[in-house]
């Protein structure tokens, strides 16, 4: 499967590295035709295994469903207008604060990736140089998106992607945490285990954490693309469930 990725001549621009990434992982056009994806995964917290179902649609709608003891809880559900979560104490849906919702709306055009067709979204990219990640040489690319709002103030929304110089695959993403007690700390996402799903290559191992700190692997069991989705799940349940 590694043959799918081909090393590309050096002295690339940021744009070439990004284009090459999409071409090598299934083709730019094929990524553009992706309508949705559904991921079944689990995380392990202190021995407790938590099964997740993550659904993302190309119009920005999304949800993460957590199933525990036969109960379903939802996190980060977005229907295009309202962002909501299940409160674990009451098991009722609650709307996220206005600022989080506004920031989520900005992400709505980031499917399948913020890098995809980044120019039309008004994002800028910059090749920062090479850096060793996981013992491997990578191109570091800075992506600047629309500013988000944090505690009433506009802040830069910058993501750094690290592309394996050999294969062109993204193996890490970094983003400064801009709110909460970890504000200022660099969040890190490690990507590996790329595998094919209907002609597109997805990382089946995603580990999220903070730079030089704790991290949490997401064990992905399956990814499906362009599947039928129960559209009723995204809307905020006004009466509560």
């Amino acid at each position: 499967m590694a043959i799918c990725f081909t090393a590309v001549a050096s002295a690339q621009t940021a744009d070439e590295i990004i284009t090459n990434y999409f071409e090598a992982t299934g083709g730019y056009d094929a990524w553009g035709k992706l309508e949705n994806m559904k991921m079944v995964a689990k995380v392990n917290q202190g021995g407790m295994e938590i099964p997740l179902e993550i659904v993302q649609l190309n119009d920005g709608r999304q949800y993460t469903k957590i199933s525990l003891q036969g109960q379903s809880m939802y996190q980060g559900v977005f229907d295009g207008e309202v962002l909501w979560n299940t409160n674990f104490m009451s098991m009722q849906a609650e709307k996220a604060d206005e600022e989080s919702t506004m920031n989520q709306k900005l992400e709505a055009n980031d499917f399948p990736s913020d890098l995809y067709d980044y120019k039309s979204k008004g994002y800028t990219v910059e090749l920062m140089g090479t850096e060793t990640v996981d013992g491997t040489e990578t191109h570091k690319i800075k992506v600047t998106k629309e500013p988000t709002t944090v505690d009433g103030e506009k802040v830069d929304n910058v993501v750094f992607y690290f592309f394996d110089t050999d294969s062109g695959a993204i193996i890490m993403a970094e983003q400064e945490i801009t709110q909460g007690p970890n504000k200022g700390v660099i969040g890190q996402t490690m990507l590996s285990d790329y595998d094919e799903v209907n002609g597109l290559y997805f990382p089946f191992s995603i580990t999220q954490g903070v730079k030089d700190g704790q991290s949490q692997p997401l064990l992905i069991e399956s990814i499906e693309t362009n599947v039928e989705i129960d559209e009723s799940l995204f809307a905020f349940p006004e009466s509560g469930e």
Binding site: M1, A2, C4, F5, N44, G46, G47, M48, E49, L68, Q69, G70, Q71, N87, F88, M89, S90, M91, Q92, M128, T132, D134, G135, T136, K142, E153, V155, D156, V158, D164, S167, A169, I171, E176, P181, K183, G184, V185, I186, M190, S192, D193, Y194, D195, F204, S205, T207, D212, G213, P217, L219
Partner: protein, 1027 residues
């Protein structure tokens, strides 16, 4: 064909020879998942050198530190985060661009508070993304100390940099530099001479062409400090630095020292200057009300004249030109334009900078030798910021307890010890203070609960019993016939591995005690050069005499007794001797002449006597106090007859310490001014360790024999531990050639400790604990990016225990398993049952780990062992595990039973809906099953907190399961009685369901068959569990 074959063969040969080539990995390719653990402490913090505010956003401020880099607060100083870990950690100045304050930040490295122990910087850095990425500006590589950065508020491209420059030698990289193109090119616009640097630079914010520059003539050596000279002066430019005029109208004549200058932002014609002059009467605070054209002497209070080399910062309230504060021993503030002062509120002494909030002058921040302090009441009361672990250790040692303790002495913050792990994390309350003043060497008695600590110059050496809390001072005292004893500021102490009660202390002599310091014997002649030119410390200071003892020289600095032969003792001196005795001190040999490539009189900073060979020792030398920043690392294998350099060109920073590995003789750990370096081949190649390891000065290294942890005492980032370095011992060329190599790991003790967590408050620093899980450690030749890679654990009978997420990094990967299987599947109810989230432990034993990478599988084994200190018998453990797993099974059986009930209810509901005859057979089923179900799981209530209903059988089983599974006791009689009760209730419920199924459901099924309704299809138990 033949030709083709030939080519193929040639290619094959080329490939083979390539495969056998030596693999040399750099640090980032080798160390992989090995991570440093920064445990602080932060309760006493460390020296802060510079504070900088965001011009408009009061939430944002920066703190530059003496040895711990730059820290940023985004919450008004409640807490700080480090943002400069990859670069020199000694900070002179931090500046925020007033036109682009969220993004453009400049950092000038190299502290300007030029005490004896100050570190040094390596230039100027700029970030254009708020401190996430930094770019070094090359012109300033040799600047050593940058005092000021001034940015034109109307033009970000125009920046002025004040370079104080080299402290210990001549340098022409000094003075004021200017860029007009945002840092691309620079021009030196003010320069005095090789000895005089710019100690402060100001820009008038209302007229950026007006600049003030303070120039200071100064020099430090290992034995002297001089502040002041003919060339110290204050200059003003009104043409953006093209021309400069001395502005001394009103200042004293003669030699001058360091100036502290400030202008009032609310009225920029008002300036304040603290002046160091020849006469005491002329020293102190001057004020100008005409932009420096004339000066009036106002005040010479202690706080305004004390130690100008250490305290030269004046700050004026941004709104009121008459409120002026000055750094000092305690710091002081005037509210009458500098006429009178009162001390700032109580905080750690030695105030280096003060910052007023731009919007609210009641909010004041102070930079001290012991951290950042905040005041909410204009400086009357202060509180410390409790999460900046920039403590500056001179020395550390560890003991052999479990968990082991770390002992060490701190710059201006006494001596301490604390644990390597603690319930809830290593927090402030875990640290114990064991000495006053500046703390240096701290040694633990090898067998008794006794600690030896000292303060500067061995003025006091304490022997402390941690058991009886008794303390006695035991420093060697002169006896008849002894010359004056010369102790270094940081005097060496050493213990013996052979004689536990033995203690060594070094002056110019080696002092030895065999009774823990009650009796002392001098066992050497003067081992130093005894150069009288270097023995005038009491006159040190220049215009302000500074007799602190910090300049005591021609002293012994390091002592090491061979762990293999107590008669072999090494002593290294600050004036460059390396002496050895092989007869317990009767005769000494100076081996310094056998070291080539080392400049004469270079400070011997540390000698490490080998544990592998008594003739072997390592010595590191530090020439920075003569302006020599090279790294000197040497090894001898013949008692010093010959020495070989084992350093390398890629090592940056003067060497401070070296530690030999106890197992692999070619594995060495080197601490330099810019971090930690490791060699696995005796010094042929050195790798810098950067995983969560800042570029901070590593002053001392110790290695735990039991846990194989490498413990670093840093001079700026506290204690840093790399847990279990044993994989490094196993790396060799054969390993590096393998695609996957599992390292041998020690058995994991199943920890039986439990705790209720920490007591720290929200913003206090808490050092992380080591991970006590089982570890699977392996080397990957190449990062895994494509295709599945998984890891499964099996018990000795081949039963699957758990799947883990393997690391993918090239180099060393560490995967942890907390020796638990996943939690049981729990019956579906109307709320969550928290006991059901308990993941039970597996018993001690050997487990097989299978890693699948693409089509290949790789196997290793790990072993879990019970804590040998545990009071449990093996019968207790069997009972514990058996009951735990029976309850686990019972929970899952109950889940299955509830599943069957739910499925049957669903079917019955359909049948009821199908018509009258259906209702007749199915309604009784619904009635019975709903009634039964309500006894098994919660079917009412809402949520998981106050709305939840009373627990039913499910909650009771999981509660007992969790209670027993979480503990380390044989199930008690009470628990077993409860277990029997629950078992009976579960069996009864099951029987009842079976009865309903046998009779009523059978009848319903018959009807369904007749009416062609789909009967219920149940999953088997195994299918249900797996889904």
């Amino acid at each position: 064909m033949k030709k083709l074959f030939g080519i193929a063969l040639a290619l094959l040969c080329a490939h083979l020879s390539e495969a056998q080539e030596e693999i040399v990995l750099n640090g980032k390719e080798l160390f992989g998942d090995l991570q440093a653990r920064q445990i602080g402490p932060a309760l006493m913090s460390g020296r802060i050198t510079d504070l900088e505010a965001h011009p408009t956003n009061s939430r944002v401020l920066y703190a530059g530190t003496a040895g711990g880099g730059v820290w940023k607060s985004s919450n008004g100083g409640a807490s700080f985060t480090p943002i400069f870990d990859q670069h020199a950690q000694s900070i002179g100045a931090v500046a925020v661009d007033p036109s682009d304050p969220d993004k453009t930040i400049w950092v000038g490295t190299g502290e300007v508070w030029t005490r004896n122990s100050t570190s040094y910087g390596d230039g100027l850095y700029k970030s254009i993304d708020g401190g996430v990425n930094w770019k070094k500006i090359d012109v300033f590589d040799k600047s050593e100390r940058i005092s000021s950065i001034e940015i034109n508020p109307n033009n970000s491209n125009e920046v002025y940099v004040g370079v104080l420059g080299a402290l210990w030698g001549d340098s022409d990289v000094r003075g004021v530099y200017k860029t007009s193109d945002a840092g691309a090119t620079w021009e030196k616009i003010l320069y005095t001479d090789l000895k005089t640097g710019c100690s402060d630079l100001l820009m008038d914010p209302t007229d950026p062409n007006t600049l003030y520059a303070a120039m200071w003539e100064f020099r430090r050596t290992g034995w002297d400090f001089n502040s002041g000279g003919e060339n110290s002066a204050l200059y003003k430019s009104t043409d953006a630095g093209k021309s400069w005029n001395k502005i001394h109208n009103g200042f004293p004549e003669g030699k001058l020292g360091r100036f502290a200058v400030a202008l009032a932002p609310s009225n920029t014609s008002i300036l304040y200057a603290a002046v160091e002059a020849e006469k005491n009467a002329d020293k102190g605070l001057y004020r100008s009300d005409d932009g420096g054209q004339s000066w009036t002497h106002l005040n010479k209070d202690f706080e305004l004249v004390v130690r100008p080399f250490y305290f030269s910062r004046i700050v004026v309230d941004p709104k009121n030109p008459d409120i002026v504060a000055k750094g000092g021993f305690l710091g002081s503030i005037s509210r009458d334009g500098g006429k009178t002062f009162r001390n700032l509120g109580q905080m750690h002494p030695d105030i280096h900078d003060i910052l007023f909030d731009n919007k609210d002058s009641d909010r004041i921040y102070a930079a001290t030798d012991g951290g950042v302090y905040r005041s909410w009441d204009g400086g009357t009361t202060f509180e410390i910021v409790a999460n900046i672990p920039v403590s500056q250790f001179y020395h550390i040692s560890i003991d052999d307890k479990e968990p082991y303790n770390i002992y060490g002495g701190l710059q201006d913050n006494g001596s301490w010890y604390g644990p390597s792990r603690s319930p809830g994390g290593i927090e402030a309350r875990d640290w114990n203070v064991v000495g006053f003043g500046d703390g240096f060497r701290v040694e633990k008695h090898p067998t008794k609960d006794i600690i030896y600590t000292e303060m500067q110059g061995a003025q006091n050496v304490w022997r402390i019993s941690t058991e009886t809390k008794r303390t006695k001072t035991i420093q060697p005292l002169p006896k008849a016939g002894d010359p004056k004893l010369r102790f270094n500021w940081n005097a060496p102490m050493a213990i013996s591995k052979v004689q536990p009660d033995r203690l060594y202390i070094g002056s110019q002599f080696v002092h030895k005690s065999e009774d823990m310091g009650d009796t002392w014997e001098i066992i050497s002649p003067d081992l130093t050069t005894n150069d009288p030119k270097k023995q005038n410390a009491e006159k040190s200071g220049g215009l302000s005499v500074d007799n602190s003892g910090a300049e005591n020289h021609t002293t012994i600095f390091t002592i090491a007794e061979s762990p293999l032969d107590e008669k072999v003792i090494w002593a290294g001196t600050d004036d460059g001797n390396v002496q050895v005795t092989r007869d317990g001190g009767k005769s000494w040999t100076n081996t310094i002449a056998n070291i080539s490539g080392l400049p004469a009189n270079t400070w011997c900073y540390h000698i490490e006597a080998s544990v592998h060979n008594k003739g072997t020792a390592y010595a590191v030398f530090d020439g920075h106090t003569s302006g020599d920043m090279n790294t000197y690392v040497y090894k001898t294998s013949d008692f010093g007859s010959t020495w070989t350099s084992i350093g390398a060109d890629n090592i940056k920073g003067v060497a401070r310490n070296i530690q030999e590995d106890y197992v692999q003789p070619d594995l060495l750990y080197l601490g330099t001014e810019f971090g930690l370096y490791i060699t696995i081949n005796g010094g042929k190649n050195w790798n810098r360790f950067t995983n969560n390891m800042p570029a901070t000065a590593v002053h001392f290294i110790d290695l735990s024999e039991k846990s194989h942890d490498l413990v670093l005492g840093t001079h700026g980032r506290g204690i840093i531990i790399i847990d279990d370095i044993s994989p490094l011992r196993q790396i060799n060329q054969l390993v590096l050639q393998e695609n996957v190599h599992f390292f041998d790991t020690k058995s994991t003790i199943i920890s039986e400790e439990s705790n209720f967590g920490s007591t720290s408050t929200e913003m206090e620093f808490v050092g992380p604990n080591p991970n006590q899980s089982a570890k699977i450690i392996y080397y990957l030749k190449k990062r895994h990016t494509f295709g599945k890679m998984k890891m499964d654990v099996y018990d000795s009978e081949g039963n699957h225990m758990i799947d883990l997420s393997p690391g993918k990094s090239k180099g060393i990967n560490v995967v942890t398993w907390n020796y638990r299987i996943k939690q049981p599947k729990i019956a579906k109810g109307n709320s969550l049952t928290f006991g059901g989230f308990t993941a039970p432990r597996v018993p001690a034993g050997k487990y097989k780990v299978v890693m699948t990478k693409g089509k290949e599988t790789y196997e290793t084994e790990l072993e879990l062992i019970n804590d040998p200190k545990s009071p449990l018998t093996s019968a207790d453990r069997i009972a514990l595990h058996k009951t735990t797993m029976e309850l686990y099974e019972m929970s899952e059986q109950l889940a299955y039973l509830v599943y069957r009930i739910d499925e049957t209810i669903e079917t019955a509901e359909k049948v009821v809906a199908s018509g009258k005859s259906g209702k007749k057979v199915a309604q009784p089923i619904l009635d019975d099953l709903n009634e039964l179900k309500a006894t098994l799981v919660v079917t009412t209530g809402q949520g998981n907190y106050v709305g939840t209903a009373e627990p039913e059988l499910r909650g009771k089983i999981t509660a007992l399961f969790s209670k027993i599974a979480s503990g380390f006791e044989k199930p008690s009689a009470s628990e077993m009685e409860n277990f029997t009760l629950l078992k009976t209730r579960f069996n009864d419920a099951k029987e009842e369901y079976e009865k309903i199924e046998e009779k009523k459901v059978a009848k319903m099924n018959k009807l369904m068959k007749e009416t062609k309704l789909e009967p219920a299809v149940y999953k088997s138990f195994d299918e249900f569990i797996d889904n």
